[in-house]
């Protein structure tokens, strides 16, 4: 685990507003995403975050010491 599981959950929910607004940003640059396309990209982003978090190690800023 690169980060604490609780922090991973937090990072995932924090990514959601960006995914939701991704569609607006894409529209500005002329790309019209459908709802389904947005959802698939969103899931891919969240998946990538999960993969990033569970591979590699923490370099000292990782899981909080059990308290």
């Amino acid at each position: 685990m690169r980060i604490d599981p609780a922090l991973l959950l937090v990072v995932l929910v924090l990514a959601v507003p960006f995914i939701v607004e991704l569609r607006t940003v894409a529209a500005w640059v002329g790309i019209d995403l459908s709802l389904l396309q947005t959802a698939i990209i969103g899931v891919a982003i969240l998946g990538a975050i999960v993969v990033w978090a569970i591979t590699g190690d923490s370099n000292g800023n990782g899981p909080e010491s059990p308290s």
Partner: protein, 581 residues
């Protein structure tokens, strides 16, 4: 070290009762929230559209007034007693103000709920009902019981404030040379602007709306009662927010493992709120005809100044969190964030509330700008905005705080930390979905406060995505919020049913820069109250005078006063008779 219930067993019972009252209001109010979402989007219609305003009144009154204010009195009672290390002078008196609030709230709630009946009972010769929304604008009229209930509820809070002040005065007599501890300072300054501002709504209710609903006067001046409502209406949003700020200042740094960055800055922030909370209310009336543009402009300037204390808060709180994370060994420019106690729902809930509050600050600046306000006024945008402020910054902070307070006042450890963590994350997620879609729908012109936001022969055009997709997003968000509320209530109930055990000590964060660094003048409450009064007079005297001059005290002409004059004549006659003898 000990928990609150060990130090103040009597007060702990009162704090617990007030918190439970708040949670009951939350449970019922949130149910209506879900019903509204499903109804407006046409997904599931449990109520008839004719009853929609009744539901929305219940939602607004129960959540925005009852839930928030019961939690506030609980928190401030805790803050005063803990920080002054002193009991309330009389528990009987304290239960008295709590009881007053309960009676007032119940009266208002009974009047509202009677509105759902096909044949509401009559009382005082009038059918019980109060489908007037929590702003109760005339000419919408409620049963007198509703107005009376609200007035009694507010009076209960006034007495509570007096109780905290006299506790403070007694402490001051014993400790004449000490600085007021920060939590007490926060509670007292908040109470001062609450007295100033709620006087406006009290006048609106007692002098105008109540006599009007009782039939003593025939009419009211709707612009006057509206202006008096908003005299209180902006300050009330800070009345909700100050307890949340208090928790961010005194609990978050401690949970992060550090200290509050600056006590003086915290005091400055609360003084600024005392000064500016009230003379800003007219910013809710930018669209009202009958108030000159110039007055609105002054109020806009005041409002923009109010951003300052919130920016100061963001700075101080984040600096304190960083300090805490570094105490725990966090390093790097951003990597220290990983060292914060994310597993703790109390911390994570409050941190996420703060984050959404920042987002709300941006939509709030748009609301506050006189010209762009015209674009969003009365649209779903506004509903999106205040579900980020009161619906998240306040409500989620209170829920997260409850995971700390309920163990304090019961001596029972939190039932399940993971459930709490999932709950706060779900609230954040639900609110992101719901409020984002509300904001965007508002920009398309979708109105708020209506059961049927689709008009005949007219379709709202979605700029990005369709209105149907926005509706679906609102429903998704609302459903997650409802699930989150259920998890919250279950966690609280299970905690209260549990056995006593190990709970955290009753203490709050120390400071890096303490009160010794804040100029003594900051504690001069008389001075700040006087300046606040002057600002209120400057902002309100001319607009109020103009409103009364144009529309009369009781409506155009003096029609409304005809029933008041005869009793006055009788008194006059009596006086003449006495003087003549």
């Amino acid at each position: 070290m000990t928990s609150y219930i060990d130090q103040f067993p009597e007060e702990a019972r009162l704090v617990k009762a007030a918190m439970v009252s708040a949670f009951l209001a939350l449970a019922v109010g949130a149910t209506f929230g879900l019903l509204q979402v499903l109804h407006r989007t046409g997904m599931v219609r449990v109520l008839s559209s004719a009853d929609y305003y009744t539901a929305l009144t219940a939602h607004g009154v129960l959540l925005a007034l009852t839930f928030t204010i019961f939690f506030l009195v609980a928190l401030f009672t805790w803050g005063i007693t803990t920080s002054l290390d002193r009991n309330l002078p009389s528990m009987r008196f304290a239960w008295g103000w709590y009881g007053t609030m309960v009676v007032g709230a119940l009266m208002a709630v009974v009047a509202i709920f009677a509105g759902f009946l096909t044949e509401p009972p009559t009382l005082l010769g009038e059918e019980l009902s109060a489908s007037v929304l929590f702003t109760f604008y005339a000419p919408l009229q409620a049963h007198p019981l509703f107005y009376l209930g609200l007035a009694i509820f507010v009076i209960g809070t006034w007495i509570a404030g007096y109780d905290w002040f006299r506790t403070y005065w007694a402490w001051k007599r014993d400790n004449p040379d000490e600085r007021t501890p920060l939590p007490a300072f926060m509670a007292l300054t908040t109470m001062l602007f609450w007295w100033l501002s709620s006087a406006g709504v009290a006048i609106a209710i007692v002098v105008f709306l109540l006599p009007w609903s009782l039939g003593i006067v025939d009419s009211v001046n709707p612009l006057l009662t509206r202006t008096l409502f908003w005299f209180f209406g902006h300050a009330v949003v800070y009345f909700w927010l100050m307890p949340a700020y208090m928790l961010w200042y005194i609990l978050l740094p401690k949970l992060s493992g550090g200290k509050l960055f600056s006590d003086p800055l915290a005091r400055v922030v609360f003084v600024l709120f005392l000064l500016l909370s009230t003379p800003t209310g007219i910013h809710h009336q930018y669209m009202d005809p009958g108030i000159a543009e110039g007055f609105k402009f002054i109020v806009m300037v005041n409002t923009m100044f109010l951003l300052l204390p919130s920016l100061l808060t963001a700075f101080t709180v984040v600096a304190s969190m960083e300090h805490g994370a570094r105490q725990r060994g966090g390093t790097g420019k951003l990597r220290w964030l990983g060292k914060l106690p994310w597993r703790d729902p109390v911390f994570t809930g409050m941190a996420l509330s703060g984050l959404l509050f920042a987002a709300a600050g941006f939509s709030g600046m748009i609301n506050a700008g006189m010209n762009i306000n015209y674009l969003v006024h009365n649209t779903f945008w506004i509903v999106g905005h205040f579900h980020l402020t009161v619906g998240t910054a306040v409500a989620l902070t209170f829920m997260a705080g409850s995971y700390w307070f309920i163990p304090q006042v019961t001596g029972k450890p939190l039932w399940n930390r993971t459930a709490g963590l999932v709950q706060v994350l779900l609230w954040f997620l639900g609110m992101v979905f719901m409020s984002n879609a509300m904001h965007r729908a508002g920009l398309l012109g979708v109105p708020r406060r209506t059961a049927e936001p689709q008009y005949e022969n007219f379709a709202f055009e979605g700029a990005i995505g369709s209105v149907g997709e926005l509706d679906a997003q609102v429903v998704l968000g609302g459903t997650l919020l409802a699930i989150s509320t259920i998890i919250f209530l279950v966690t609280i109930v299970m905690t209260m049913l549990g056995d006593r055990g190990e709970v955290p000590d009753n203490s709050y964060a120390g400071t890096l820069s303490g009160p010794e660094h804040s100029p003594a003048i900051l504690d001069n409450l008389k001075l700040w109250t006087a300046i606040a009064l002057v600002l209120i007079v400057l902002a309100y005297s001319l607009p109020l005078a103009a409103i009364v001059q144009r529309g009369g005290l009781f409506g155009p002409g003096i029609d409304g006063i005809t029933r008041v004059l005869p009793p006055i004549d009788t008194i006059g006659g009596l006086v003449e008779w006495v003087v003549g003898r």
